[in-house]
Structure formats: structure tokens, C-alpha cells
Symmetry: C2
Subunit: 254 residues, 2 copies
DNA sequence: CAGTGGTCTAGACCACCAC
DNA sequence: TGGTGGTCTAGACCACTGC
């Protein structure tokens, strides 16, 4: 193997493995040779191979299971039509489930999502974002989303209890037209959206649900819906694996 | 030291160091104890400390220099007013330098940027994004941006040569009102913006310019400006360290 | 039980920095 | 020249998987 010194060995091994994966030599769902085997193959120590594999993990190219081995992931990039999903919203799909479904179907995959609804006291950041006092009741709509049964997104929607309690907004099935339509019917029509996008390390919970590796990152989107009188009526916090998603925005200027 | 087994030692050491940094025990610009020293202190091997430090590096908390040591970074989060910067654009600042300056001054820091302009053949992705043929002449405006002389952003703007050559768009100083105003004057007023946001590992060049560590990620923004007849007239590719920036978007709905 | 990755150690050599 | 991190190795023990 042409392992040279100037570039560290583990990086070179990572490059070789990445190339092998991209060329199809190791196809999706195939299992890489064991680390000891790769070590012997390239004439390096197992530690070195291990470090190389950890690079591929952080890139989302492979997935490791203790005792099983290292498998190649299928990773079609998912586009989130951030702006468009909410502008077409007045129509049939509420910018929520409908939009996600469209995004996943566009990849020829099958979308699925679970929703849990509960009423809880507002945590500090949520209270601040919604202009409430900490501990005020808020309705939490927790969604877990899957593509071909692979978890790809987690989204928590927080709505002031005052607005949502006793309405379809506090039901698991929020009815036709989705959340957005309900807000309008309840006299809290959203007229403006703001989103803040940041990247951070996945929490333990996200690592577990999103099947992320240690060292992987997520994109966190704080999505706020505002009424015409500039009151925030919905805060949705989306978490998605950073390697898996592209966010698309668009707006007029001039 | 209370190093327990269930959670790996390097993670525990990383947590301790992170806490020490956040508590101010190791203040900004201070140098952490040497790895050998930390190893002795916590009763672990140097490798373990090294792995712990690499976690903090990937989070952008510390910066390592060979032969010098590991120093704590100052990391104020920079907000990019993605939408607003271009909507106010018709006014005094062109959504470019002006907007960046505003963002940095908002943090009490001093902005600075270099611009280089050249005409080059269009690379494949650029040609595709601008609806040109590969190799067609394009004007490349390359900008490097700094906050308090720390590099924080790299942006390449690509404009079809047909539009830009021989105009102020091909000058380093594009004049009052910035780029956007020039497009309008040249009969190519931008009326719509699209942006695609993705996260990827920093390239070698970015690692060098943005002073990023191995294993760190950048946010890449593909920003396209469109005219009223839906022609793309400008493609700007921004790269920023993922740990340093938050992107803010906003738009009306309904 | 055998195989896989997770993690740790001790020791080593190197490149780079500052004095 | 001494100190710092970068990297590598050989060997080890563990947890988890699947037979």
C-alpha cells in the first residue's frame, strides 16, 4: 500500500476507504473488513485504522455496531424546502407533516412520523422565545420523523397553552391543512416566520434516536411563527443530522 | 480524580476541561497545561488526554499550535442576518461588505476584509449554477473576512463574464451601494435570492485560512441572485466555521 | 465461544516553537 | 535545547454480537 509519511497514515487510510465506498467497492449496507484485517492489509496498527474509521463515522459515511462490524450507509441528501414549505402552506399541506412527506417522497423513500402531544411547564429558553414566563403551561408537540424507517429528524413544537389547550392544536391529529390552518382558525394566523440555524454536537438523546455516532453534529433550527401583531405563537425546534440535510431558502428582494 | 468507567475516560476528561473553560478557570487566550501534565493530573495516559482535547477542538473551544500548546479561544457567536441583509440592500450597504461589517460591529469587534478579483473559466458546478457552459469566462470576486483580525468567513462570488467584464463588478472596489446596486444599474437587477445551506468537513485550504482544526466543520452557503426573468446572475459561495455562526432567516407567509 | 469494535497504556519518534 | 503536540505501535482488557 502506498502509505506515505507527510500525510498522516490514518488520513490516508480514511481516504482509501472513502474512495472504496464511493466507487462502490463497498456498497451500501455492506460490512467493511474488520479493523484488524484492515490494519494488516495496509500495514498499520489497529489504532490507526480505528482513527481512520472514526473520520468516516463523523462524515456519516459508515455506521458502527459493537460486535457486528462497520457498515456502509446509504445517504441520499435530503433537501428541506425551508421557505417554500411554509409559503404554500395555506394550501393543502400545513408546512408540517405534508412538507416533510413531500421532501422524502422526492427521494423515492417512504416517510413516516410519530407525534406525541403533552402539556408541560415552559422551559426557560422556550418561555423566552414565546414571550411567556418560565413555567407557564405550553403544549408540546413532539415529532419523530423517518425515511424508510430510518430516523432523520426530530422536531419539538411549543405553543402557548393559552392558545392551544382544548383546541385541535393539542390533538395528535391536528386535522386538514395542518397546524398552520388551525392557528388561522383560532384567530392567531401566522404571518411571518423566522428561523435561526446553528450547528452543534448531537446530544446523547439525539445520538440514540438519530442513530448518530459519537462526534457527529446536528443542524438545529429554531423556527418561530409570528402573528400580524408580532406575537410569537409557535416555536418549533428541529434537529437533523448535519451530514444528511441541505436547507433551501428563497425570498424576493429589491 | 473521580474518573469512572462507564463513561469513557477521555469523555470525562473532556467534560472536566470544558467545565473548567466555561467556568473561567482557563480564561480566553490562556494556555492549557501540557498533555503530559494533564495526564498525570487525572491519572490517565497522554493518548487519553489527547483524545479529550481533540473533542474540544472539534467544538471550537480550543486551538492547538504545535510546539506552543493548547489555548482557549474566545468565541462570540456571530449572527448572519441572511434575509435582512439583502432586503435592506437597496439602501446604503450592498448586502455584502456592509452587512458583514454590521454583523461584526454588533459584537463590538472590528471587521476587515480583503477582496481579490479575477476572470477565470467557469468550473463545472459554477457553470451549472449560472446556466453557463463549463469554461465560459466568469468574474471571480474572492473575499476573506476577519473579525478583530481573526478569519471568520470566506466568500467567492461568481458573475458571468458577459455581465461583469469591463464594469465596476470586476473592480476590487465596486463602488457605493455595493454589488447589488451595480447589477441594477447594468440592467440585471436582482429580484430574488435563493440560498442552500449545508454542513461539511473543512477543506485543507479552509483549515488553513479559517484556522480550523482537523475534524472541524464549516457551513457552506450557496447564494444565488436571480433577475426578474429568472436568470441567475450571481453565485456566492460562503464558507464559515460551523461552531462560530448562526444563520438568521425571516419571511412573510399566508 | 469466536469475532467485532471501544478503550486504555507505555513507550517511542517526529515536527515545530521559544529561548 | 527543552517543551509541546502529532502520530504510531504492540499489547491488553472489555462489552456486545451471533453462532
Amino acid at each position: 500500500m502506498p502509505i506515505e509519511t507527510p500525510r498522516s497514515q490514518y488520513r490516508q487510510v480514511a481516504d482509501l476507504l472513502r474512495a472504496a465506498i464511493e466507487s462502490g467497492e463497498y456498497g451500501p449496507d455492506s460490512v467493511l473488513p474488520a479493523e484488524t484485517e484492515l490494519a494488516a492489509l495496509h500495514g498499520v496498527s489497529r489504532q490507526t485504522v480505528n482513527k481512520a474509521v472514526s473520520i468516516l463515522r463523523s462524515e456519516g459515511l459508515v455506521r458502527v455496531e459493537r460486535g457486528r462490524g462497520t457498515t456502509v450507509r446509504k445517504i441520499p441528501t435530503i433537501h428541506r424546502a425551508s421557505t417554500a414549505r411554509y409559503q404554500q402552506t395555506a394550501r393543502e399541506d400545513g408546512g408540517g407533516r405534508g412538507a416533510f412527506d413531500t421532501e422524502i417522497k422526492a427521494l423515492g423513500m417512504t416517510p413516516r412520523s410519530d407525534t406525541e402531544v403533552s402539556t408541560v411547564p415552559a422551559p426557560p429558553e422556550v418561555a423566552e422565545a414565546l414571550g411567556l414566563a418560565e413555567g407557564d403551561p405550553v403544549v408540546l408537540r413532539l415529532r419523530r420523523m423517518y425515511a424508510n424507517d430510518v430516523p432523520v429528524q426530530r422536531a419539538d413544537s411549543w405553543i402557548p397553552g393559552e392558545i392551544a389547550e382544548g383546541t385541535p392544536l393539542a390533538e395528535v391529529d391536528s386535522g386538514p391543512g395542518g397546524i398552520i390552518s388551525r392557528f388561522a382558525e383560532l384567530g392567531h394566523a401566522q404571518t411571518r416566520i423566522t428561523e435561526s440555524v446553528r450547528v452543534r454536537r448531537a446530544t446523547d438523546e439525539e445520538q440514540s434516536f438519530l442513530q448518530l455516532e459519537e462526534e457527529q453534529f446536528v443542524i438545529e433550527i429554531w423556527h418561530t411563527g409570528w402573528t400580524a401583531d408580532d406575537r410569537p405563537v409557535e416555536l418549533a425546534i428541529h434537529s437533523v443530522p448535519a451530514h444528511l440535510w441541505v436547507l433551501d431558502y428563497g425570498w424576493p428582494i429589491g
